[in-house]
Symmetry: C2
Subunit: 244 residues, 2 copies
Amino acid sequence: MVSKNEIKLITSLQQKKYRNKYQLFVVEGIKSVKEFVQSKYPVYQIYVTEDIHIDIDQNLQSIISKNDLKRITNLKNSSGVVGIFKIPKLFTKDTDDLQIILDEVKDPGNLGTIIRLCDWFGISQLICSTGTVDCYNPKVIQATMGSLTRVNVIYTDIKSYLKKEKVPVYVSNLSGENLYKKVVDKKAILVMGNEANGISPEIMELADKKISIPRFGENSKAESLNVATATAIFLGEFRRQSML
Amino acid sequence: MVSKNEIKLITSLQQKKYRNKYQLFVVEGIKSVKEFVQSKYPVYQIYVTEDIHIDIDQNLQSIISKNDLKRITNLKNSSGVVGIFKIPKLFTKDTDDLQIILDEVKDPGNLGTIIRLCDWFGISQLICSTGTVDCYNPKVIQATMGSLTRVNVIYTDIKSYLKKEKVPVYVSNLSGENLYKKVVDKKAILVMGNEANGISPEIMELADKKISIPRFGENSKAESLNVATATAIFLGEFRRQSML
């Protein structure tokens, strides 16, 4: 049984305003909910329909009817499991590794893909400008495929953050130097910009080196690459060079 | 003025069945429509609302009301321009360059992103298995950002195609050799597989070399990368090695 107030709370978490107010977010799907339970995220409540047996502490589970599930799920085809988790307080950690910073990335799919890439390439923290899309947005969570449990996403004033950091700052820029000819530093920061406008001018001022992925072929008139695919190529090349 | 039959025809083109029947497809947005008009794609009809002035031959334009636009557009916020183009007959061409083959890629956003990547990296033809999502699907066209005008997408029986080709066939495979340690051939074929199942067994049999993008970091538990981001990393590395 889910009370009216619970339904109201859970559906309100589709919106950033209420996620911030209650410091809660929603995860859907058996596999993803299990990954979040096993991770650092404190559980608020797990709603499970009668027919689902999920390998999670019974005390955390609240058994609900399929009708109630319909009232709280955001998916057309729910798997029967809806998890509500507390948003953890995360802080930046010092690192000797490559750092990725996002400057106003707005598309949930792009952020989700970049979190998944960070997980793959062993980048444990992703720093985002305060205007970057919220990582607890349901579309982001879906796109991360569980990687959000292994990558700390931290929202901060990236201008102040960059001013304090002493490592070389690379920015992705179409007129930058050829990524493949540029020997990159192992300990560095890579900043990726907004889908339409790229890096903001005030962040560009703090860049030490501008780098770009070269176009190939005379017929290529592609104006740009999607920010997530560009991040994939940069990360791959930074990691390749770190192996040398 | 748009007749009832025209509206029926145009809206039917959202479905692959009718695109195949009429050999037509829809492009929306001023910039994209202009790119398609300037490309190899023969125009069937361009519908434009009265208030829009678009730099396209007047004879190709059909001026319509905003109400009629609402009846034919597939977008929530249409820019006022809907282009109908004929599907060209495309054939594979011999090439000395890297070739990309897709084996049952199903997501329109992934195909669109891969077409855009091919454009960026100067790959002029993309060969797809007949079960790969249709490149004239409106979501694919939107994701390509005009790149479909510069990359020939050809659907064929990829098993027969691979059997005829004499160049080394690389397949993306999680248990394959480290991409960065493997010197890749300049003239080669790279096959990328389905989102959930990877490369089909019958295609895997035709592979000469299996390659993978290495995971980094001990904590990485990411199970896979999205096929479009993996293609980005492979293409970047193949092109980098070709520059050496």
